[in-house]
């Protein structure tokens, strides 16, 4: 990755409408009250968006002749009402944090990464291969060496897959939205081929497309006995802090945000815009790849066809719900994880199909994106310019 530690260039000369992405995260420390007000104002729309989505979802449940209260009670029971349920919610939230960060980071660079799904699948595949094949190739390894290698391998695979659309955009102007989607299909087909062919678990008992189990030395520890909660959650929280620090406290992060806010101004200021586009998408892909590696090393201990359940797509909703703030990604991922985790219970107890949570996700996305709807509904003061995350086909 071209992480040029160039000195912070002078800020671009008065870039016309200042993107919300470039606003300082925290107001200066002497204005704590102001900071609290800012935080409350920033939280109002996402929270009300979730509430409104749940209300509309309830109406949809009622229209189908089911009991919305029963459905939501079952959803709550399934996601949060016992240590096991909570642990499963956190297990769901772990890859969501990584992929949500991946999408949010790309947004800061003015880029829309819809390819987290494919980057995650490749990261998981490479991690699984390193996990089971490395001891055979290099002899037994201590966990202190093997586990980091597994995680690094998955990260690099995701980074490489993310760098391709970045390079294509920087070099030819081809839009990353189409290319990341195309690369999703290519990655999933490649993974399907490898899992059915060269990397398939050769044991005679195996009847499905999956790799062999990874070695014990490649596994992340579990955090509690009898629960599936694993140390990947801690890595995810670390990643959120690291992305926040990287975006707001390093020259590279500043440059990426400058390109996202106004590429013309960034170019005038002497920033290597093309390289920064590649860097932003490679870092974004790295986070998604790490998500896959952590799923393999912490949870599944192998890669299996179709294990990814739309983490990459849900990541878009998470990033937007967090209003692309790296630290906001954590609660947003917890919310989506809880919805996904509780859905099965809801289907079982209240006969409401699990797909309802996808509808809820779309509604949340809608109300976050169309802020003006929420503001009008709840008589909030109007916001400034509407949030614009992307810049058309350019």
């Amino acid at each position: 990755m071209p992480a040029e530690p160039s000195p912070p260039p002078p800020p671009p000369a008065a870039p016309a409408p200042v993107s919300p992405l470039l606003r300082p995260v925290f107001p200066s420390s002497e204005r704590v009250v102001g900071a609290l007000q800012t935080a409350l104002a920033a939280l109002a729309v996402p929270v009300l968006a979730v509430v409104t989505a749940l209300l509309v979802g309830g109406a949809i449940i009622a229209l189908a002749g089911r009991d919305p209260l029963l459905a939501y009670a079952a959803l709550w029971e399934g996601c949060c009402a016992s240590p096991r349920a909570l642990s499963e919610t956190l297990v769901w939230a772990t890859p969501y944090i990584f992929t949500g960060l991946a999408v949010a980071l790309a947004f800061h660079g003015g880029l829309f990464n819809i390819g987290a799904e494919g980057q995650l699948a490749l990261g998981a595949l490479v991690a699984a291969w390193l996990g089971y094949a490395l001891p055979g190739l290099a002899g037994p390894l201590p966990a202190a060496v093997h586990l980091p290698l597994v995680l690094l391998g998955g990260t690099l695979a995701g980074a490489a897959w993310g760098a391709i659309p970045g390079w294509l955009k920087a070099r030819t102007g081809a839009h990353e939205v189409i290319n990341t989607i195309m690369l999703n299909y290519v990655a999933l087909l490649a993974v399907s081929y490898l899992l059915n062919g060269p990397l398939r678990d050769p044991s005679p008992l195996n009847v499905i497309a999956r790799t062999p189990e990874i070695a014990l030395s490649a596994r992340l520890p579990r955090l509690a006995p009898d629960l599936r909660l694993h140390a990947g959650l801690l890595l995810a929280l670390l990643a959120a802090a690291a992305v926040w620090w990287g975006l707001y406290r390093t020259p590279l992060g500043f440059a990426i945000r400058a390109v996202g806010a106004n590429p013309a101004a960034a170019r005038t200021a002497g920033m290597p815009v093309g390289g920064l586009v590649v860097a932003a998408l490679a870092l974004s892909g790295a986070l998604a790849g790490l998500a896959g590696a952590v799923e393999v090393a912490g949870l599944n201990y192998r890669h299996e066809l179709g294990f990814s359940l739309g983490y990459g797509f849900d990541a878009i909703a998470i990033a937007l719900l967090a209003r692309v703030h790296p630290l906001g990604v954590v609660p947003a991922a917890l919310l989506l994880g809880a919805l996904r985790n509780g859905a099965a219970r809801m289907q079982f107890l209240a006969s409401v199909p699990v797909d309802l949570v996808v509808v809820l996700e779309g509604l949340i996305l809608l109300f976050v994106a169309a802020e003006v709807l929420v503001r009008r509904l709840y008589r909030l003061p109007p916001a400034g310019a509407p949030l614009v995350f992307t810049r058309g086909w350019r």
Binding site: A174, I178, Y185, P353, A369, W393
Partner: protein, 348 residues
């Protein structure tokens, strides 16, 4: 769209057909392979052509639409359910009428999805790519939810059939290639819509206004064109066309619905539109390239080749990327594509 570009794109189709002939030469006579390839190409290119035209109406008026995939999925489901309901009401004597009602419902669903997109991005000036994503997520969620809610106990039913194959008079009687001209109604409608869209965009007042609004909304506004209204109309028309593309999936291709059945076709259609330089003829030619790649994949299975199906399956996607990377030269989007227009905003 220059004639040279168009020729270049069509040459790519020829190249893929030639590849099929080379691969299958041991098993079938070459003319039969060519006829089969062309027929399948036209068939499978149908949703891509229609999707690309849908995108074209929106984008020529300055509204990016990455929600075509979702529009098609909603329409495929809506049309399917309507055809089932009509069949239940009308009985076996009126299969054709049930299917026609299904197609009409699908087109209507597409139009409603278009109105939703227009409401968000034209009226509320929401980020257009986000609005398209909302549409895609809601379409996946709603069709999945409703199909499970409606058909959970009974299992997924089958529609009363698919639209009949029509023989174009004279052309279908030609020796060897006659089969190419035996197509189903939506495939034929797609061809007609390519011509119609070309005329509408470049030879009517509607098209002139749409293009003006897509290139320079402020100038159009100054000239007395109601920017928001023109954008609304074009996005809804785009939705109607995407709805017809949706009908292809459940009423022309297979008589059933399955979740996620559009399988990325909406995005490939978008790539075809870009590849085709934002023109109807170019978009159609580009759709044929992707259709031919898919036809090659279908025919290659028939030839019993040793290449893993997943690798052949990557072909349309890789082709899309190559196309976008400017294999056939750069293309230029409408100047105001993707930019919300606020009539009260001070001129920058």
């Amino acid at each position: 769209m220059t004639g040279r570009r168009l020729a270049l794109i069509l040459a790519a189709v020829g190249l893929i057909v030639a590849a099929a002939v080379a691969l299958g030469s041991g098993q079938m006579p070459a003319p039969a392979i060519v006829a089969s390839m062309l027929r399948t190409t036209l068939q499978v290119a149908t949703p891509l052509t229609l999707g690309a035209l849908a995108g074209l109406y929106c984008e020529r008026a300055g509204v990016i639409n990455i929600g075509i995939e979702g529009m098609m999925l909603l329409a495929a489901f809506g049309g399917f359910v309507a055809a089932l309901a009509a069949h239940a009401a009308l009985g076996d004597g009126a299969v054709g009428a049930s299917l026609a009602i299904g197609v009409a419902a699908a087109v209507l669903c597409g139009g409603l999805a278009g109105a939703f997109h227009a409401l968000l991005c034209v009226t509320y000036r929401v980020d257009q790519i986000i609005s398209g994503t909302v549409l895609n997520v809601l379409a996946i969620g709603l069709t999945g939810y409703l199909s499970r809610q409606l058909f959970f106990q009974s299992g997924m039913p089958h529609a009363p059939g698919v639209l009949p194959t029509l023989r174009l008079p004279l052309l279908a009687d030609l020796p060897l290639v006659g089969g190419v001209f035996e197509q189903q109604p939506i495939a034929l409608a797609a061809l007609a819509l390519v011509a119609l869209t070309h005329v509408v965009l470049f030879h009517t007042v509607w098209g002139l206004r749409a293009r003006a609004v897509g290139e320079h909304p402020r100038a159009a506004d100054t000239a007395g064109i109601a920017v928001a209204r023109v954008r609304w109309a074009n996005v809804v028309v785009g939705g109607l066309v995407a709805g017809l593309a949706g009908a292809y999936f459940t009423l022309e291709s297979v008589p059933t619905f399955e979740p996620l059945m559009t399988n990325g076709r909406g995005f490939i259609a978008l790539a075809a539109m870009i590849f085709g330089g934002w023109t109807p003829l170019g978009a159609w030619a580009a759709s044929l390239v992707f259709g031919a790649a898919q036809a090659l994949q279908i025919n290659a299975q028939g030839f019993g080749l040793a290449v893993p199906s997943q690798l052949v399956g990557m072909l349309p996607y890789l082709l899309t990327m190559l196309a976008l990377a400017g294999l056939a030269g750069r293309t230029r989007p409408p100047a105001a594509d993707g930019q919300p227009y606020d009539p009260h905003e001070a001129q920058a």
